[in-house]
Point group: C2
Chain length 151, copies 2
């Protein structure tokens, strides 16, 4: 399962993309409108800022805004940072590769081969879906229509 941090990060980003022409948005506004715990969200937004995905202004009329075009922000990046590697086993991870301690035959391991398939397809979907696509998906009516936004 995705961590709350990862899910909240995605929700906050989608919201910020939607209201992107309205200047800086308060943490409190994001939290209230998306029903996310305010202080917890604060940490997440800070991390997104350090990632250079968001930028911020302090003090009066401050708040957060996107630091990039929505089309340049990939779901895969956010999930990896906030939830860890996409891979289900370390030996199939691109970003955190590690051989299993109990590994007997790396090349022929069936678990590894199947999990690699799962990871590759997951990466294809998540890296191929940008924040821009997410906004479009939310605007569309049917799940079928939303499929068009995938690579």
């Amino acid at each position: 399962m995705l961590s709350m941090r990862a899910k909240y990060a995605l929700k906050a980003l989608i919201y910020l993309a939607k209201v992107r022409d309205q200047g800086p948005v308060l943490i409190g506004d994001i939290a209230a409108s998306q029903k996310l715990p305010r202080k917890f969200l604060e940490q997440i937004l800070l991390e997104l800022k350090n990632l250079r995905v968001l930028k911020s202004r302090q003090g009066k009329s401050g708040g957060y805004l996107l630091a990039k075009e929505p089309a340049e922000i990939e779901m895969g990046q956010i999930v990896r940072v906030f939830n860890g590697p996409l891979a289900l086993v370390p030996c199939v991870s691109v970003t955190a590769f590690e051989k299993c301690a109990e590994c007997l035959d790396f090349d022929h391991c069936g678990v590894r081969r199947v999990m690699k398939k799962v990871r590759d397809i997951t990466a294809e979907i998540l890296d191929g879906t940008t924040l821009e696509a997410m906004v479009n998906i939310e605007a569309s009516e049917s799940d079928e229509a939303s499929m068009m936004y995938f690579i």
Copy 2:
């Protein structure tokens, strides 16, 4: 990431499928040959027995063996039992569906729609890969060849 329990369960099952014509296999033999922690594996095998995936004999010349044909045992079932739902968000899970507490618009939620796609493809792969296929995958030389065993 997959839990150790799930990974060990899969490895033990593949091993048992390979030596299936040799009668009951000792926990200690499975543990030693697959380099898995013996007592931890014991719990896992017991759970597999209660699932009716394995059967066992106690006492002298006892051990574990498959309770079904390898072609009838799906990877998806094992992963779900030992690792939890395949879904990355509860609102997209078939076996443990739950609406997110912070959900504002279920039908249009972009996170949900994308994660549903990921879940569906993951389920297609894991439910479409049987223990029999896993044994064949381990016997094959190239990763390309192993793709043939997927649905």
